[in-house]
Amino acid sequence: MGAAVATPWTARARRFEENVATREPAWVKGVLITIALAFFGLFLLLPLMTVFAEAFRKGWQVYFAALVEPDALSAIALTLLVAAIAVPLNLVFGVAAAWAIAKFDFRGKQLLTTLIDLPFSVSPVIAGLMFVLLFGMQGWFGPWLMAHDVKIIFAVPGLVLATIFVTFPFVARELIPLMEAQGREEEEAAIVLGASGWQTFWRVTLPNVKWGLLYGVILCNARAMGEFGAVSVVSGHIRGRTNTLPLQVEILYNEYNFAAAFAVASLLALLALLTLVIKSLVEWRGRQPLNAGEESQGVPA
């Protein structure tokens, strides 16, 4: 299995390395690899290692004590809850948007695609500000909500809204190009053969895009659980009630409790790593059938 995973990769690079026309002198290769690895070490590996090193600086006991502390536990629970609401909503949206954009032609399609990307380039701080303007006591709906005792900001709904906004494009962005590339023929054939719309979606479309969908969902999830700027504006920072994990990191950091701050941070870093592992698996699974064919042709044994 391990060998199977490695084959397309090494084989692919080897294709370039063995071709006189596409390879560089050994020293150029060496220099480029060194630069890339140095950059990698400095900017990616070092921060990651720092999180864990700082988390364990005072030993395992301090580490675990920081994680089972009631405020940390409630931050974990809140983070999970927020992600559990935000991610499925964005998932449904992503599928609907991708179906409309990839399978149909209509005017304003390009504009719609751009608008879906919008939250990606909006500063998280502005994302938080918007919801304060809308639902804050000084905002448009605030007084009405207050009168009816419905809390949006400084409560779970506000955190959910801010998170949905920030992670809005992730699933759609992943699915649209994938479904566009897959074309419409298969679905059209299914319909012609008498399948209903839902049947077509579940049996034809979904199996085709499931890996891309999964990738979009986990990326969406990682961002949902890790968002800081936007939720910081709408949270109210009530200990044990409206603090998500990233906010808990900030609080502990501000209490001179650096080991605990990094311990909680390491949970989030672990989540990030897990996301990357799943992502790599997904990519490999998604590519596998394609690669197998391509490789067997491209590389003479």
């Binding site: 809390k151 709904p157 001179y256």
Partner: protein
């Protein structure tokens, strides 16, 4: 169909959250406070919960929220349902009265001592051995001295710091407004990092090793020395400083809606009780009660204190002249 489902989910969610806080309301208080009071209210909340249980038989849970004073006031104005606010300066609570209309304008007259159950002042934290020989405010404006203080725009403590420096320069024998402005301008030229809150500055100074001197709340300086190593830091008290009065108040609109006025008022009054004053003293605040203050007198250096009212004519005026957009601080910052 999906849309209906979505709105229904959101509605149910919103109602659940709203309802759950309503049923708990009787026995929960939310205290929205500023940065350096974390340890104080940790101790005080435990003591008050016990006291309240003995008094009324009711179990009270106190939730805390901490952050920069301005940010906290902003949250309350925007609808964070604080039963009591315990902030760094009266101006921020004034804002809650003015912009949020959640409390009456004369809130500060409702409790003794300007509604400030404890006071503090502004001192310097320096590294062990005081390598730059810092003794008084004049040493902070010398070239080559690096000073850490938070951003006066966002931090209450930072405004006290700024005003203390200003007052010192003004009260010098040949001091006047122009000289004070020049003095404070030079001081901020020596500041390499402006964190948004007092806690951020302490972390920068202590943990990151930036700066030769931290201008800080007295209680914050003592706490930092206690928590992070008495062998690493020294406290320097200047010859003259400002009397910082962090005020407290009940948020009327919230407690009346929740029916929590009684317990909220008892909570603040307990701050003035001997037990409350003792806890304040233990956490390096200066108690108001003369008897209790006498017990802790040995902890604090003697320092001449001036009040904001006598030098600046109160918070409203100070804020307007110095910290509003286009105010003196902005003019100084731009000259950087």
């Amino acid at each position: 169909m999906k849309i209906i489902h979505l709105t229904r989910t959101l509605l149910v969610l919103a109602l659940t959250v709203g309802a759950s806080s309503a049923t708990l309301a009787q026995a929960t208080l939310l205290n929205v406070s500023y940065d350096p009071t974390r340890e104080l209210y940790q101790d005080f909340n435990a003591a008050f919960a016990k006291y309240w249980k003995d008094q009324s038989g009711e179990t009270v849970t106190i939730q805390q929220s901490h952050g920069g004073s301005g940010k906290q006031a902003r949250s309350v104005i925007d609808g964070l349902e604080a039963d009591v606010v315990t902030l760094a300066l009266a101006y921020d609570i004034d804002a809650i009265a003015e912009k949020g209309k959640l409390i009456p304008q004369d809130w500060q007259k409702r409790l003794p001592n300007n509604s400030s159950p404890y006071t503090s002042t502004i001192v310097f934290l320096v590294r062990k051995g005081n390598p730059k020989g810092i003794k008084d405010w004049d040493d902070l404006v010398k070239p080559g001295v690096s000073v850490v203080t938070p951003n006066p725009k966002t931090s209450g403590g930072a405004r006290w710091n700024y005003l203390a420096a200003w007052g010192y320069a003004l009260k010098k024998p040949d001091g006047d407004e122009a000289k004070a402005r020049e003095f404070v301008g030079r001081l901020y030229k020596n500041v390499p990092v402006l964190d948004s809150g007092a806690r951020g500055s302490t972390t920068t100074f202590v943990e990151r090793g930036i700066g030769d001197v931290l201008i800080a709340w007295e209680n914050e300086a003592y706490l930092a020395r206690k928590e992070l190593g008495p062998d690493q830091f020294e406290i320097v008290t200047p010859s003259l400083s400002i009397l910082a009065e962090p005020p407290v108040t009940v948020v009327d609109r919230v407690v009346d809606k929740k029916g929590a006025r009684k317990v909220a008022e008892a909570y603040l009054e307990y701050l003035y009780s001997p037990e409350g004053q003792n806890i304040a003293g233990k956490n390096f605040y200066r108690p108001r009660d003369p008897q209790i203050a006498a017990q802790y007198a040995g902890r604090f250096a003697k320092v001449t204190l001036f009040t904001i009212d006598e030098v600046f004519g109160g918070w409203q005026k100070a804020q307007k002249t110095h910290f509003d957009d286009g105010g003196v601080y902005d003019q100084i910052a731009v000259q950087h």
